[in-house]
Amino acid sequence: MSTDHSASGTDALLRADNLVAGYLPGVNILNGCDLYANKGELVGIIGPNGAGKSTLLKAMFGLVKVYSGTVHLNSEEITGLRADQLVRQGIGFVPQNNNVFPSLTIEENLQMGAIQIPERFNERFDFVTTLFPTLKDRRKQRAGSLSGGERQMVAMSRALMMDPKVLLLDEPSAGLSPALQDEVFVRVREINRAGVTVVMVEQNARRCLQIVDRGYVLDQGKNAYTGTGKSLANDPKVIELYLGTLAKAK
């Protein structure tokens, strides 16, 4: 089942090798995680609570202390770079919570996303508003007054303003109603089809596996399984470990 990491991902756009990371010294959340994403791929990370899904994403984005292991973008090492440098390199990141600037308007939020390329603001604004047309009409509204789903749209748009090569999404469906969750997944795939490589962490594993090209199942800070979305969704071991009851209930 498990695909061979080193063989498949040598020319990957983004790859993480043997990451060991955590918030406190001596308490590692990741115990040697590998991940790669090829250009144009949509990659999902799922796993039980506390498995280190979000930590893996944050470690790749330099938000968690990486004790050992490396992260490469286009074969160039980016381990330990500052967030704004990573953004310059072409990585976009959307955190799970607090992912908009509440006291700024939608337009200003997007301007913050394009802060390194202000001259391309209009072009990028047109791009994200074709994905999320409602943002255009409401550009002067303060982001703090938006609902959860709207915030998520603003957050993703903000990250897309820099025209990133890779977009990292931390549980984009969290806290949304079922209808909105579906909408988010559809959007994520649209973004991906527009040419952006996406790596997403999801709690809604089933839905996630439906849209991704490849998925990783994490357990206790390590890769447990990887494979195509479909193969994982039907893998009895994955069902046992994570999809569990709900999968059976279906």
Binding site: G144, A174, G175, P178, A179, Q181, R207, T245
Partner: protein, 289 residues
Amino acid sequence: MQELKSTPKRDAALAALASVPSIPGIKKPDPIIIADNVVRRFGGLTAVDVEHVEIQRGTITALIGPNGAGKTTFFNLLTGFDKPNSGNWTFNGKALAGIAPHKVARLGMVRTFQLTKALFRLSVMDNMRLGAKNQVGEGILRALLPFSWRSQEERITQRATELLTRFKLDSKADDFAAALSGGQRKLLEMARALMVDPELVMLDEPMAGVNPALTQSLLGHIKDLREQGMTVLFVEHDMDMVRDISDWVIVMAQGKVVAEGPPDSVMSNPAVIDAYLGAHHDQPLDEQE
């Protein structure tokens, strides 16, 4: 899936709930908590809007729902840590709206927190001792007279030691709580809550961040609470755990109670599958476009 063991308390709990239909907001034969029209808004967002919900005494009730469904906020409201915009609720028939959190705890309704609140620069043992109720030495004057509280302190210490042993933390008793691992802190918090002698234990995501090796023992401890006559209400994401230990499941989404019932029936309820899997969960997204 491990076998569900039959115990007298579990059988009693199940028997009591057997005739209760799976309808959101349904009345229970012997409720310990009854909440009515509890509403909490944050700015424009309505985080909690619970019309009516009852928690059956002597059961383990799970509160599930997607992130942001208002489970933790509802916990905070019930225990007095947050104030609702409107609403009433009772615990053992006593109205609790507007009651300060420490009084709620003294009445026998004790909670833990999602992010553990171990008191870092206190020893594990002092964390435990802190939980004990009616301590003579906690009065400012008696504190100066060690002989007045020493014997009580010894009894408390003994009880704390028993609990720590049960939770396999006895070897850590003299360490600072900060030296514990995340999972051990969860255990400590639960053990500390038990020092208060609660009737109702409210656990906010007891399994989050816990090493799977510890999960089984934590589950055992929670079941044990019911065997000792306590009622347990807990928030959890892990469906296996919910299915394993709960007698009754309440599902929240967008602040409202959308479903409740025994675990098996709830998990096959389309509304719940909606909340967790998304609508049309059985259709691939491709077909929707």
